[in-house]
Every structure is written in C-alpha cells, then in structure tokens.
Amino acid sequence: MAELLLIARLAGRRIAFPASMVEAVVELEGVTPAPCAAPHVAGLAALRSRVLTVIDGLAALGLERAGEMQARDAIVIPCDGHTYALIVEEVEDVIEADAPATRLSAPVGAGWARVATGTVEVDAEIFLLVDPYALIAGPAANAA
C-alpha cells in the first residue's frame, strides 16, 4: 500500500518521513534554551498550550549544531507522551510513495545510518526514509 510521505530537507539532503507519524508542520519563532539538556535538544517552544521539545535535526544526526535559531520549519511529532518539534532546513511537500519502502542497500553516511530505515521512491526519485523517533532519541542513543 502506498504511504504518504513528508519530504523535507535536512543537512542538505532531501529525506522522507512517514506522514502518519507527523502531527503538523509549524514555523517556530522563539525557542527557549534548555541548558544542560542533551546536545541535540535545541530548547523548548510553545504550541498553543503545549510545550514542544525542540530537536535540532543536524545535532540529532551527530553533525554540527544548526546555530542561531531564526524562524524556521519544524515538524511536530508526538512520541511517547511528549511532543517534539524537529527542526529541518525546509519542509517541501506531502506526497504519495510510488512503492513500499525498500531496505537500505548502500552505506548512507555517518549519522544517517542510525536514523534511516530504508529508501523510498517517489516520482522516479529515491529518498532516504527516516525514522523521526530515532532522530528524537539523538546521537547518545547510538552508544547505548
């Protein structure tokens, strides 16, 4: 069965998230830092009366932190009783996959291997299918 995918750009790469795991896409304005929290946590933001934990997508991959927070696209993902906002460079579109995801067949590069669950083809283009929960868990989860 074809799956709906959310296509976003992270670390310069176009990637796909299963749309069923995504609650919303928002533009974050102010992010309140959370000192001493895990390094991939950019801080907190408010969405209506809820507190979002903002995850820096780059840092979650184990790459450099994105740096100064401007207004930017974030994907809202509920996970395990908490709601997260995953910062990406850009959210492009929601599209339908042409075919079910296939397993990874080639090395995808440092950081990505942990979060990628496979590849998925849309309009003859191949995207990396990323597990947002793995991104939320952050690089530390890798070591454990």
């Binding site: 102010g30 309140t32 830092p33 959370a34 000192p35 001493c36 929290a37 895990a38 991939h40 946590v41 801080g43 907190l44 933001a45 408010a46 009366s49 507190v51 979002l52 934990t53 995850i55 395990d80 009783g81 908490h82 997260y84 939320i136 868990a137 952050g138 454990a144």
Partner: protein, 783 residues
Amino acid sequence: MDELLNDFIAETRDMAQALSGAIVAWEAAPQDRERLDEIFRFVHTVKGNCGFFDLPRLEQLSHAAEGALADVRAGKRTADRALVDAVLAVIDRIGELVQALETGEATASEDDEPLIAALSGAPVALAIADAGAAPEAEAKKSIRSIRLSVDLLDRMMSAVSDAVLARNELARRLRDAPRDIAVEAAFERVSTCIAEIRDGITRTRMQRIDSLFSGLPRMVRDLAADLGKQVRLDVDGGDVELDREMIEMIRDPLTHIVRNAIDHGIEDPETRMAAGKKAAGTLKVSARQTGNQILIEVTDDGRGIDGEALVRSARAAGLLSAEQAEKLTPAQKLALVFTPSLSTAERVTAISGRGVGMDVVRANIERIGGVIDIDSRPSQGVKLCIRVPLTLTIIPALTISAGSQVFALPRSAIDEILRVGAIRIDSVGAAEIATVRGRRVPLVGLATLLGINAVVADADQRIVLLKPAGGEAYALAVDAVHDHEELVVKPAAPAVMAAGLYAGTTLADDGSPILLLDPSGIAKRAGISFTESELHQAFRGAEEETEAERETSLLLFRTLAGGRRAVPVMIVERIEDVPAEAIRFGAGKLRVAIGDRILPLAGCDAAPAEDKLRILRLTDGRTELAYGFAEVIDIRSVPIELHPAPAPGEVAGVTLIDGAQVELLDPHWLFAAHGDSGQEEKAQPICALPEGDPWMEAMLRPLVESLGYRVVAAREGVAADILILTEESEGAGPVQAGQVVRLRSHPEEGEGGASIYRYDRAALIGALSRGAPKRKAKGKANG
C-alpha cells in the same frame, strides 16, 4: 479497608450489570459455552474478592455456584433448566447481598441454604423469587457513586489547566489595560471559580496510597515463602494521598524494589543468625508527604549493596576507567546500581546483592518527575528513597531568572529570599559558602551552573535559600526574582530531564515555555548533594577555614546608660520602638506590652523618662523578651575572645571590637532570669549543644528543635535532659545531662565506644526520642 470494600461493591455491581445480558442469553441457550464462561468468571471473581473481606455468605454462595459451573465446564454435568435457575438465583442473591453491604440494610432473605442445595441438584422448590426485589432497591441507591475513567478525568484536568493558562493571560492583559473595577471584579470571580474547579478535580484524582500498599503483605508473604526467608513487613503512611495516575506509575517500580529487597537484600534465616541478626528480616515501606512531594522509603535490614563490587563490575564492563573509579564517592559507587548495562549484568546480581532492572526503575521514576536515591551500609541493609511529585499538574512556583532566561522554582522548597548584601559570602577554595544568620550553607550560582552568561553584577543578585525535600539547605544565587505564580507543570521530555536539573516544563503567562528547576537536582549537579561524603567535605573545608577565627555576628548597641554592649544577631528577632505607657512595673518585674502580648523587659530598671523606648526583641525560639537600649551602633562579624565576668549576670564578659571594649550580653542568663517560663517552655526537654560549632548550629540544631527540644549552649552550670557532643568537644564543660549522645564524623565506628554517625538521622532521632519519650509522639504527628 473501607475504600477497598467500596471498590469491591462497585466492581461487583458493574460486573453483575454487564452480566445481565449474558444471563438472559444463557437462560435461552444453556449450552452456550461462551456465556457459561462469562458467568463462571463472575462467580469466580466474586469468590476471590470475598477472600479479602470477611463476607462468609457471599463466599459460600459464589463458591457453590463456581463448583456447579466448573462441573458443567468439565462436562460432568449438563446445564439443565434446574441448574440454570439455581445459578441465576445465586447471582441475584449475590447482587442483593452486595446491595445490602452498600446500604447497610438487611437482605430480604437470610437463608442461603436452599439456594446452595438447589445448585447441588436437589429438587427445586424455589423459584427465582427474589429477582423482582433487586431493581427497586437499586433505583434507590445506585446513584451514590459513579465510576469514571481516568481518561475523562485527565481531559477535565487538562481543560482546567488550559483555563488556568487563559486566566493568567487575561490577568496579564488586564494589568496592561486601563483599570475598570467592574471588569476586575468579574475577573476575580472567574478566577475564584477556576481555582475551585481545579481544586475539586485535583481532589477527584487523589487516592490513598493504601491502594498501592495493600497488595504488599501478600506479595511479601508469597515471595518470602518461595525463597525460604522470613520477612516482617512494616507498612506506614497508607493514608498519604497521591494522584491516581502517580500511584499507577509507582506501582511497578515499587513492586520491583520490594521484590529485590526480599530476593537479594534480606538473607536466609541461617545467614542472618550467623551474622548476629534476627532470623526474620524487616522490610519497611513508608510514605509521607513533604511539601509537594511524596517520599516513599523502602528499607531492608539485609546484606546491603557492595559498592566496591559494583565498581569492579563497572570496571570489568569497561564503563569506568581506573581513574574515574578512584574518584567515586561511596554514594556514587552505590548509584552505579542504576547504570543500565551494569545492573543487567548477570554476575553483578550475585555479587552486589541487587537484582536486575534498577535502571528501569529509575527511568520510570524519573519519567514522572521523581527522584530515586539509594543508601546502603554493608551488612546493615539498604534504604531506597523515592521522591515523586504529588501531582503532575499545578504547583505554586516562584519565577526567577538566570541571565536573560526565566526559570521557575517550586515554592515548597524555598525558605527565604535575600539580597546579596544581607548575607556574608566566603570563598572556600572553589566553593562559596553563604552565612545567613549564623547558618552556613553552600552557595550555588545558577547562571554559572547552567552555563548562562549572567547579566547582573554579583552584588545585584538575589539569593534564594532552598531546602529541597530530603536534602540539605543551600543558597542559590539568581539574577532576578520575578513573581509567585501557579504553574501548570508537565513532565519534560526525557532528553531534557536527562540534564537532571529540571522537574518539568510549564508555560508563562505570555505563553512562552519555562523550565521548572529541581532544587535537589541543582544541589546534586553543584556537588553539594545528598552524597553525604561530599557534603561532609564541603563542610569540613568550611570548618577548617573558619577554625582559626570563628566569627560571630554581633549587634553592637549603646545601652540606656551609655555603655557599649553586643548581642548575637541570631537571637535578635527585631528592633522596635514602644511607647513609654506600654511599659509597666508589675508582679515584681518590668514588662512591656506589644500588640496583644506582654514581654518581660530587661536592660532598664524603670519605665523610661522619654515618651518612647527602643527595644531589642530577643528570642530563644520559643519565648521572647525585650531589652531596652538607646541606639544601634553597628552589626559586626568578629571572632570573640571573651574575658568572662567574675559572676554570672546580664553580661557574660568583655571582648575587644575595633579596639574598644564591648560588653557581651549573656542571653542564657537573660532568659533564665527574665524569661516568662510559660507552660510550653516547662514541658520542653532541654538539649545542650557545644557552643560555636557551625555544624551543630546550622545542621543539627534545626533537627533537635524539630523534635521538640529547647536548645541551650553547653556550658558550665547548664542542666539539660540531653547533651550532644562531637569528637572535638569531647569532655567539654561540666554540664549536668540526663543523657549524653556522642557523634562521630565518620560513618565507620572508631574505638571509643558507642557513638552515632552524625548523618545517621534515624539513629539520632532514636537517641533524641529516648531522651524525651513524651515529645516523640508530637514530633511524629507534625512530621
């Protein structure tokens, strides 16, 4: 127990209601296996539940029905019309009995024998005659309580939380808008309503922790029997109330901990006897409320956890380098038991005496914003402390900021808020020690701790004196103090909680997120935590530093006669002016009326000639007295080198301050001579502490006082019920004491006989309670 019974009644009634359809269907088709199973489960459950209560009739009935139905299930009997009728009659009777239990009325029929006989296949004379009676009674009584899903309660709670946020937002806007009395009054009314609704809903979610503890005796009994151990369970504090959801969240961790304690902690009877302990181990589970936290303690007197073994395992597992291992404090070694990959290692279990999954226990506790601490003495046992918030919802908090960021502190942990200028701050090595009215507490800079750039100069900072539940007091330097607010607190995401500094998140009036700081977590990170040895050292350092010149904060004043005198600031409650007419000489003493109280007046021999008199109000914590004087000269912290007065009196002696001789008041003499010995004071046992020991003063004294003692300085001629000595003060002063308690500063007992480790709170309290048996009950009731 009542609550359990109510639960049982409600549950049975619900089941009976749900079952009515099945009964009808079964009546129509007695061969229907599914219906039969359903009815069987019902009587089986009722029978099982009856075992907990003393309900012989219900038990007999359900037992008989269960037996008959079991035969049908096993194919030994067929479900003929007679049996179906008999079973239905029994079910009706059960419903009736439950109804009677609830209403306290008698049942229509007292004799169950015919019903039971009918089940066994005897000729059926009775019809299901009672059936008609039940619905009527039900209509009368069943509205008294309803069962709600926790889900619904949660939704109500979150709706109310949102209402609180909306109210806060509105309050902010109203503050900015031009004042309108009518609008404000309406807003006040709405506020009050919201507060009431919130209060009500919060209460509906509260449940006695009994429901969590009630399963323990059975579990302990079964486990102990399985393992061939003898365990005495001691449960305390079942009436503490806690959020329902919280109770569910603690259930698993608590079960796990109790299981571990019996499985790995408490030894088998032979081993215990050989170690000189009682054959039966004691497991103590207690709950109590401290501020907005619930403290659950599980203590066993088993073999304890071997911290060294944990370190060895951690080293073997490659989790620790030799250097790191070297630096660990005993408490940190014990905390290794919570390390995931370590506590799951099979062989550690055998060595350390603790089972698997402590990491899971900790994770579960932390998920609900709780803290778990472990303490262990080899061969004496283990104490696990779980601290969880009362509710996940709304707490009163103080908003403060570090740098430009706003944080919140739970108000329950706050003792006092001070200006930097009002206290003394000493640097002791890298640490800072604040002295607040004689109390020495470690000082933590919040901005520095969090790695935030402070925007305010040190001198403009505010000091918040914190006393985390179960921990030691410390001072927190913050950049600004804002406001008291009621905050809707939700647990933060695990990646944020991992910092160990936060208790949750919340939204400010303006809708921006605020992190709620966890005072215990801050203490821990700052290294002034409950890890006693560290605390120990910090204070050690402080003591050594100040040993050379132990300073006392003195208030210098000029007496009415013009002399210079001084009094320790600590005992000065306040300074005020009283009109001369408030002062009267009567009943042999000079007294002053202040408000609705009369205080003895010292420092002058007659009512003053002027129309008013300036007085110092001195307090010993219980009684007060006034001391007349002319003017305050200064407040100074100086080492006191006392040249004692030849005879005891108002003045203890003379000391040199800034090159001038100053007479030092003797507060003890003053209170002895002038203090009105009220009823209260008389009943109070007296505890003598060595003078000028900062540890005694700052840490021990509050404990001693909380137990109902009046604390006096141990000096010549003092009579006390109990005298507490440290190693240094050994043999100090010829004090007449009913009992002497010696403290040692190391956990291990040295030579020199009986003494108590000074942080062994339980033993200390035990010793102090013996000295004042009457007081014990009071202290307990308060705590």
